[in-house]
């Protein structure tokens, strides 16, 4: 049975793109600022860790549906997402405001 398994290659590419956004673009980390960026329609892509509590995940997805912004479910928990952002703390959700040099917005949002 072929399940839509996220291969190691695409996962690494998300990490690479995220690193480029961290270096050259604008982003916010954390639930409160993610909602703020969605309300002010500044967010362009939302990334949610896989161990995000389901109510919070649904709330962010609902806001994103209202503001027509893509949501990407990161293949890793909040510890991994924090590491992928180059931070030493856990990140459950983040919002990319300006991708900078990265093409993460163009290549990711097909992905739900």
């Amino acid at each position: 049975m072929v399940t839509a398994k996220k291969t190691k290659k695409t996962h690494e590419s998300i990490n690479n793109r995220l690193a480029l956004v961290m270096k050259s673009g604008k982003y916010t980390l954390g639930y409160k600022t993610v909602l703020k960026s969605l309300r002010s329609s500044k967010g362009k892509l939302i990334i949610i860790a896989n161990n995000c509590p389901p109510l919070r995940k649904s709330e962010i997805e609902y806001y994103a549906m209202l503001s027509k912004v893509g949501v990407h479910h990161f293949n890793g928990n909040n510890v991994d997402l924090g590491t992928a952002c180059g931070k030493y703390f856990r990140v459950c959700c983040l919002s990319i405001i300006d991708p900078g040099d990265s093409d993460i917005i163009k290549s990711m949002p097909g992905d739900q």
Binding site: K36, R39, S40, S41, G43, K44, E59, Y63, L66
Partner: protein, 135 residues
């Protein structure tokens, strides 16, 4: 990237005395004001929902059960949950920020809102807005 906290959007209040009540955005202040330096909006909502009307109710009972109590409030964006529903009632000239300055202005504005919401409820439209949120 679409702004959705616009007038006529139906929202649910999450905090305060009116937590769990549905309201409609009348005016939004995205960048705040001098007194409220945060994003907030002026909402008009339902304090007391109309009760369920059944077939064998008399006309007097139906009228009594279809009453709505309204409220007007300035709420922080963090304390509302936007929904995908909208409510098209023209409350812009009835409700304004200065109608919240004094008690009697607030009461008259709330009475007028109550009248408009009741007539909207009696037409049978926007049924979702007038049903109580169960939680």
């Amino acid at each position: 990237m679409v702004k959705f906290l616009k007038p006529n959007k139906a929202v649910v209040l999450l905090q305060g005395r009116y937590a769990g009540r549905k309201a409609v955005i009348i005016r939004s202040f995205d960048d705040g004001t001098r007194d409220r330096p945060y994003g907030h909006c002026l909402v008009a909502g339902i304090a007391k929902y109309p009760k369920k009307v059944i077939r064998k109710d008399s006309a007097k009972k139906t009228a009594k059960k279809s009453r709505v109590k309204a409220f007007i409030k300035l709420v922080n964006y963090n304390h509302i949950m936007p929904t995908r529903y909208t409510l098209d009632v023209d409350l812009k000239e009835v409700v304004s920020v200065d109608s919240l300055q004094s008690r009697d202005k607030k009461v008259t504005a709330a009475k007028e809102t109550k009248a408009r919401l009741e007539e909207r409820f009696k037409t049978g439209k926007n049924r979702w807005f007038f049903t109580k949120l169960r939680f």
